[in-house]
């Protein structure tokens, strides 16, 4: 063991001590501050990066138009790597350095972890990347909102579509063995039987499972008309799809929001053709009349992923809530912002969502079914905008 190596390790250890000295920035004016724990890296990075762009772009647009009653919106965020501990650390760091009014959280776990803290602070509302149905409860989570339909509602939109197209169809549910995956299972079964649909198979795949041949065998035996995947981003859906297609079953495959990005499906190729899914927002390339989409395409000439739309719409809801709260002459805090948010009704999103939307409970229960066209590499609408009544 020679000295230089030891010195190296010592230097490494010493470096930590040095960086402990870091004074928080203290720059405050009357701007409205939106904070964010964003998964810019890690397993959810593809969404996090898009979300960041979408939010920043919308705030830029809003600021150009004079901000909120003349007050500029400032967006401060840090990377979390999609780990709850990191998200909490970022939250604590940002809140101790800024006077934050609204926040974007990156996961269900983080939303649930920080909810009591939000309640205690009472000075902000929070949206995020999680559509967990559990969060759609204004009693329990008074300061949280979901920028779209929750997972139960998303699957509900799919079920309504199925019941409409093919009454009495049989469906199979394939979910990952995670909180995300298991979220809608119970309610989906009830909802399906209400709509006269038969759930013929329920499959739960362990996380990280790659080989799905035994699951395919089960699906082959039960021959469902529709298979609804939930709790995945991409893998292992393509493998399911290609194996089942090979077997000559004419099953329809369906997914929920996070597995609906068309660039992900483009890489899968031919097998992805005809994949259906629920999407709460328009796609970047949608051709229907939409001033906001035109604006986005002007700012960003290349395709933007679904996460971008999610971030964009989240920012839009936050801005609208703040605008209404300021217009009411209220001081910005959790209660005023939340009641301003809940007052949003028949709100025109500039075409980000095809119909005027309202906030119900903690969510915005609107969505539309799209189908993937492998030839054009795009998702194409196959239904009207569906609003869920409860």
């Amino acid at each position: 063991m020679n000295i230089t190596r030891r010195a190296g390790m010592a230097a490494l250890a010493g470096a930590t001590a040095l960086t402990m000295v870091g004074a928080p920035l203290a720059a405050q004016d009357d701007s409205i501050v939106v904070g964010g724990s964003l998964p810019l890296t890690g397993v959810f990075a593809f969404a996090g990066i898009a979300i960041e762009k979408g939010m920043s772009d919308y705030f830029e647009i809003a600021n150009e138009e004079g901000g909120i009653d003349g007050r500029q919106i400032e967006f401060v965020y840090e990377d979390t790597g999609y780990e709850v501990n990191q998200s909490v650390a970022v939250f604590n760091q940002l809140t101790s350095q800024n006077d934050i009014d609204m926040y974007y959280g990156d996961s269900t776990g983080f939303a649930k972890t920080i909810a009591p803290e939000l309640q205690r602070r009472g000075d902000m509302i929070m949206g995020g990347a999680s559509f967990a149905s559990e969060l759609n409860d204004p009693e329990e989570f008074p300061y949280i909102f979901i920028p779209g339909p929750d997972y139960i509602q998303q699957v509900g939109i799919l079920l309504e579509y199925i019941a409409d197209e093919n009454p009495g169809a049989s469906i199979a549910l394939v979910n990952s063995d995670t909180e995300f995956g298991r979220d809608p299972i119970e309610t989906t079964k009830e909802r399906a039987s209400e709509l006269g649909l038969e759930v013929v198979e329920e499959i739960i795949t362990p996380p990280g499972a790659a080989d799905v041949s035994t699951e395919v065998l089960r699906l082959r035996r039960s021959r469902p008309d529709y298979i609804i995947f939930h709790g995945y981003v991409l893998s292992p859906i393509p493998e399911f799809v290609s194996q089942i297609r090979e077997l000559g079953l004419d099953t329809q495959f369906m997914g929920t929001f996070w597995s609906m990005d068309s660039s992900l499906w483009q890489s899968v190729g031919e097998a992805a053709d005809g994949f259906l899914g629920v999407m709460p927002y328009r796609y970047y390339y949608d051709e229907e009349e939409a001033p906001m989409l035109d604006r986005i395409r002007e700012m960003r000439p290349e395709y933007q992923a679904t996460g971008y739309m999610q971030g964009f719409f989240s920012a839009m809801l936050m801005t609208e809530a703040a605008r209404r709260a300021v217009a009411n002459g209220a001081e910005l805090n959790g209660d005023t912002l939340k009641s301003a948010l809940s007052s949003i009704e028949e709100f025109d999103t500039g075409g980000i969502i095809g119909v005027p939307v309202s906030v119900k409970g903690n969510a915005v229960p609107f969505g539309r079914v799209y189908e993937f066209n492998a030839e054009s590499g795009q998702m194409e609408p196959v239904s009207d905008w569906i609003e869920l009544e409860d």
Partner: protein, 347 residues
């Protein structure tokens, strides 16, 4: 052995802190611990709380791995047991938090005894692998025993309360976590001055010889497992009060590796090692964040590199310390101490 500190009485020989500089440093350290919540910002207090929880768990693992030589890759699962126990008691029975945390430790210890049973038949690598298996089986229990754990969506719990004061902010939680950390580390330091602790060390150094010397292997190995799990359980219980939600994904397998890495980096088989390692490993991600923030001036999109770099640094620290500095940060500290002992007369 330090020259010039002649012991004149048995109590002096048995003391934990044998020299005047040690006592001075300890006093400074204690003052710093007490002053911290009045000085540090919320963010640093949060990190301090997290670091102390990791210190407790790492110290427990150090008892098992560093002192008894039984490698465990299941420490995170025992933390989860403690956290779930606390969550369950808090939610269903509403018992006082001190009782909950102790119960978390005791139940984790009981499960640790069961998981330690394979050490009767297997040791070394095989045992490490058995603990991996145990942690996956426990994970399955957390997901599926919904009556107690609330399954995948996890258990949310109310903050701990003392005389009607809610321990919800980090400056208050600090006063909950810090005493536990101090007491448990102090306890571990004392453990190795007893018959039990010395038996552990004998087992680590050569288990067959230890048995020949009259140390019942199974009993002591199980005891070591129980102590390590007790520490993990307490740490997990405190963790539950810090985050106030426990899900099966709260304590991934990676946390077990993290803790093992902490004692390797800190120095296995020393109390100081567990502390230094856990603090160092907790702060490293934050340190990297600062570095990346600085680098983002020169490298566009530096933020997107953070997570991979963190993973690499994490692995590199384990590999680097094992190859270059097997005795960890403790050895570095010792070297500095030795340097200053005779300074400036000899450098």
């Amino acid at each position: 052995m330090i020259i010039g500190t002649a012991k004149e009485s048995y109590p002096a020989d048995e003391a934990l802190l044998t020299t005047a500089p040690q006592r001075v440093w300890m006093t400074i350290f204690v003052i710093a611990l007490i002053a911290a919540p009045f000085v540090l910002s919320n963010y640093w207090l949060y990190l301090a709380c997290l670091a102390m929880i990791n210190v407790i768990s790492a110290t427990g693992l150090n008892v098992l791995t560093g002192y008894t030589g039984q490698v465990s890759l299941g420490q995170a699962a025992f933390m989860a047991v403690g956290a779930y126990t606390v969550a369950y008691l808090e939610r269903s029975l509403g018992t006082p938090f001190l009782l909950n945390i102790l119960a978390g430790g005791v139940i984790a210890a009981a499960i640790g005894l069961v998981v330690g049973l394979p050490s009767l038949r297997v040791k070394g690598l095989y045992l490490a692998i058995a603990t991996i298996a145990a942690s996956f089986i426990l994970h399955f229990v957390f997901v599926n025993w919904t009556a107690v754990t609330n399954g995948n969506s996890g258990a949310t719990l109310a903050p701990a309360t003392v005389f009607g004061i809610e321990l919800a902010t980090y400056d208050r939680l600090y006063w909950l976590i810090m005493p536990f950390a101090v007491l448990l580390v102090w306890g571990a330091a004392n453990l190795f001055r007893t018959r039990i602790g010395r038996a552990f060390i004998a087992i680590r150094d050569r288990d067959i010889s230890a048995e020949v010397l009259g140390i019942p292997l199974l009993r002591y190995k199980l005891m070591s497992f129980a102590i390590a799990s007790f520490y993990a359980g307490i740490a997990g219980g405190l963790w539950a009060y810090l985050f106030r939600v426990v899900t099966p994904e709260s304590f991934p397998f990676l946390t077990s590796i993290f803790l093992l890495a902490a004692i390797i980096v800190g120095g296995m088989g020393t109390i100081l090692g567990g502390i230094l390692g856990a603090v160092f490993m907790t702060l490293t991600p934050e340190l990297l964040r600062v570095v990346v923030d600085l680098a983002s001036v020169f490298v566009p999109d530096a933020a997107t590199l953070l997570s991979p770099v963190r993973t690499i640094v994490f692995g590199a620290l384990i590999v680097g310390f094992l190859i270059l500095e097997p005795r960890g940060l403790t050895e570095i500290v010792d070297r500095i101490r030795r340097f200053f002992r005779l300074w400036p007369f000899r450098t």
